[in-house]
């Protein structure tokens, strides 16, 4: 058997694939953050809580309404997105003219409140949510056993990421959005309802978080704190990719997932710090991030 640095190549391929799966979550979450920051200039610390809410909505739908995973995939992002719209309309709207710091504090506070409420109600050890019957089982790829559900996660999140990128960077709607962040007065002069567009954009970013939450529910247990740990890593991903850069967040999301996966093979103890080490190095040499443009 061939080996690379003392690790059999077979095992290495397996780890690369697993890294890609975890990277899908990083990419989906950091994409939402990048959209919100890029277009609203809000550092959305509630993102982790909204991801958790997505998973909880999936759980509610299954246990209270008998609606399965596929329904949740459609309903949860809309429900949590609507919650996001309410937050934007009632609170965030007041902060656009102020420093980034205010938005950060508000969203951070909201995240703590939401997580606290859920924890109080559902405890901290998590609720079970099983993999939909269509995606149970897996394929033997020779070098590893790939569960069908994980394959689905990669494919689906890649599709969502790329279509989001396409809409924002390549379509007319996307060009309005980008123009509105550069110069809202001018865009409004063309007869476009800028505040509504901003509100819906926030709702969309939040919906992405909820979508990731639904996808995570069958893999991890549905837990009030599931987003709290993840959000810090995802912020590091966004910073490395360049705040607000859509493609940057997608590429670094998947890339860092892979790097983290490899760390778990070569030096598992460092697997939850490696991303922050990379962040520190990137910030030293490229303060705007790998794909960001200095402002």
């Amino acid at each position: 058997m061939t080996e690379i640095f003392g690790v059999p190549t077979q095992a290495l391929f397996g780890q690369l694939l697993i890294g890609l799966i975890n990277g899908s979550f990083y990419a989906l979450l950091s994409l939402g953050l990048a959209v919100i920051f890029g277009l609203l200039n809000i550092i959305n610390f509630t993102h982790g809580a909204q991801y958790m809410m997505g998973a909880f909505v999936a759980w509610f739908l299954l246990n209270k309404a008998g609606m399965g995973y596929w329904w949740a995939l459609a309903v949860a992002p809309i429900a949590v997105g609507a919650f996001g719209v309410i937050i934007e309309r009632t609170m965030l709207k007041q902060l656009y003219k102020l420093d980034h710091l205010y938005g950060l504090l508000l969203t951070f506070g909201l995240a703590l409140i939401i997580q606290g409420l859920f924890r109080n109600e559902y405890g901290s050890s998590g609720l079970p949510y099983s993999i939909p019957s269509q995606l149970q089982g897996g394929q033997n790829l020779g070098f590893m056993f790939l569960p069908n559900y994980r394959a689905w996660v990669i494919v689906f999140s890649l599709a969502v990421c790329l279509s989001t990128w396409f809409v924002i960077e390549k379509t007319k709607l996307g060009s309005y959005l980008r123009a509105a962040t550069e110069n809202p007065e001018l865009v409004r002069a063309f007869g476009i309802n800028v505040p509504r567009m901003i509100t819906l954009t926030y709702g969309f970013g939040v919906g992405l978080a909820a979508l990731a939450g639904v996808m995570a529910a069958p893999i991890y247990s549905v837990n009030p704190l599931m987003g709290a740990d993840l959000i810090i890593v995802v912020f590091a991903v966004v910073v490395i990719g360049g705040m607000g850069s859509i493609m940057g967040s997608i590429v670094t999301g998947f890339g860092l997932g892979i790097i983290e996966g490899l760390t778990k093979v070569f030096y598992p103890e460092a697997s939850n710090t490696v991303i922050f080490i990379i962040m520190a190095i990137v910030l030293m040499f490229r303060p705007a991030g790998l794909f960001g443009t200095p402002r």
């Binding site: 924890r119 901290s124 050890s125 893999i219």
Partner: protein, 380 residues
């Protein structure tokens, strides 16, 4: 001369006034429940432990006996520095006499140290490291419910006994995981088994598939899970997903909590309504039993002076509805029978909470590490 006479008079007055309470500091026995109220271990200990402590105070009948007992609680967030600063504040400023519970071995070891320094009492139920009655043993600490040695020997030797000799460990990377891995490895090797490899994962790791893949490629017959709480749940989930059990390897959860106490349904039935309908865990049951025994010792001594109470607790045999009869050894280890259980197949389970079948009862003197092998300086 006058001052001397006044002092003598005061002393006489003090002697005359209620000898019963003279020795209880501030006239109240204060019990501090220190644990994880919000994180990964909140459900196995957490607010439920506080409920269990209150139930013990109630069942002891403190009010009827004219003893004032107060139960307070705090969240140590699984961080040793947070835990020890709360403990210092409790001992120095708030007049706490005894700290109970403290899951997360790294925090428990810190509190063990602080308690010894302040010469107070510490009753451990939630933490597992066998070092608490081994090289870190203290005259101020009693380790109640379980420990890593017991888990390792109970589960480990049973599995090696079935002919599964090669092991791979998935270990939580902190004091508890290390202790559990060490104790289990010892059992495996002693019984002719072999450890093929181990991987240390961070506490509260999100994804275990990477680690499990390494376990899978090691071709070990048994994957020992030296972790706890949410980490164990996710390890088992991901192992099923990746077809590890189907592939012929077995998973050995060294520490699995079930929110269930067999011994006394009556206790569970009283507990549940006070804690959102949840059943008590063994950690919470341990709190009940430990607090009850502590209060009995305080009553017998009419004092809450920690070193004396701990000595008295070791002297008196323990007896309560949950753990039955037992005793506390010189090294601070509380001993009682343990059960080796196997999870029932879904077809065998008769309903919620009916998940276990008892494979064997391990008698108290076999369930825990022999006193002499622990390197505890208190054992001569």
């Amino acid at each position: 001369m006058i001052t001397l006479r006044v002092l003598a008079l005061l002393a006489a007055v003090a002697l005359a006034v209620g000898p019963a309470h003279a020795q209880i500091s501030d006239g109240v026995v204060k019990i501090g429940v220190l644990n994880d109220q919000s994180g990964a271990y909140a459900d196995i200990s957490g607010p439920g432990s506080v409920v269990a402590a209150r139930m013990a105070v109630e069942d002891f009948g403190a009010a009827k006996k004219g003893m004032k007992v107060e139960v307070i609680s705090a969240d140590h967030q699984n961080k040793p520095e947070v835990g020890s600063s709360i403990a210092r504040q409790w001992y120095d400023r708030d007049g706490v006499d005894v700290i109970v519970d403290v899951p997360t071995s790294s925090v428990a070891l810190a509190i063990n140290q602080v308690t010894r320094e302040k010469n107070k009492a510490f009753l451990v139920s939630g933490a597992a490291t066998s070092d608490l009655t081994g090289k870190a043993c203290s005259p101020n600490t009693i380790h109640w419910t379980y420990d890593t040695w017991m888990l390792a020997h109970g589960t480990g030797s049973a599995i090696v006994g079935t002919g599964k000799k090669t092991w791979f460990f998935l270990t939580a990377d902190y004091a508890f995981g290390h202790a559990l891995e060490r104790d289990t490895e010892e059992v495996v090797v002693k019984n002719g088994g072999k450890v093929l490899g181990k991987v240390r994962h961070p506490l509260n790791a999100q994804d275990f598939s990477s680690f499990l893949l390494q376990a899978q490629s090691s071709k070990a017959q048994v994957i020992g899970l030296a972790n706890a709480g949410g980490d164990t749940i996710n390890s088992i989930k991901h192992a099923a997903e990746f077809g590890i059990v189907k592939g012929g390897q077995i998973l050995a959860g060294m520490l699995v909590f079930i929110t269930d106490v067999h011994a006394t349904c009556a206790f569970a039935k009283r507990f549940a309504p006070q804690y959102k309908g949840n059943m008590p865990t063994m950690v919470q049951a341990g709190i009940y039993s430990a607090v009850l025994h502590y209060l009995k010792a305080v009553e017998a001594l009419k004092s809450d002076d920690a070193p004396k109470v701990i000595a008295k607790m070791k002297e008196m045999p323990t007896d309560d509805p949950l753990f039955g009869k037992g005793r506390i050894r010189a090294d601070g280890r509380k001993i009682h029978d343990a059960y080796l259980v196997e999870v029932k197949k879904p077809s065998e389970s008769k309903g919620p909470w009916d998940y276990y079948k008892i494979l064997a009862t391990i008698p108290a003197d076999k369930a825990f590490r022999p006193e002499k092998e622990g390197d505890c300086p208190l054992v001569k």
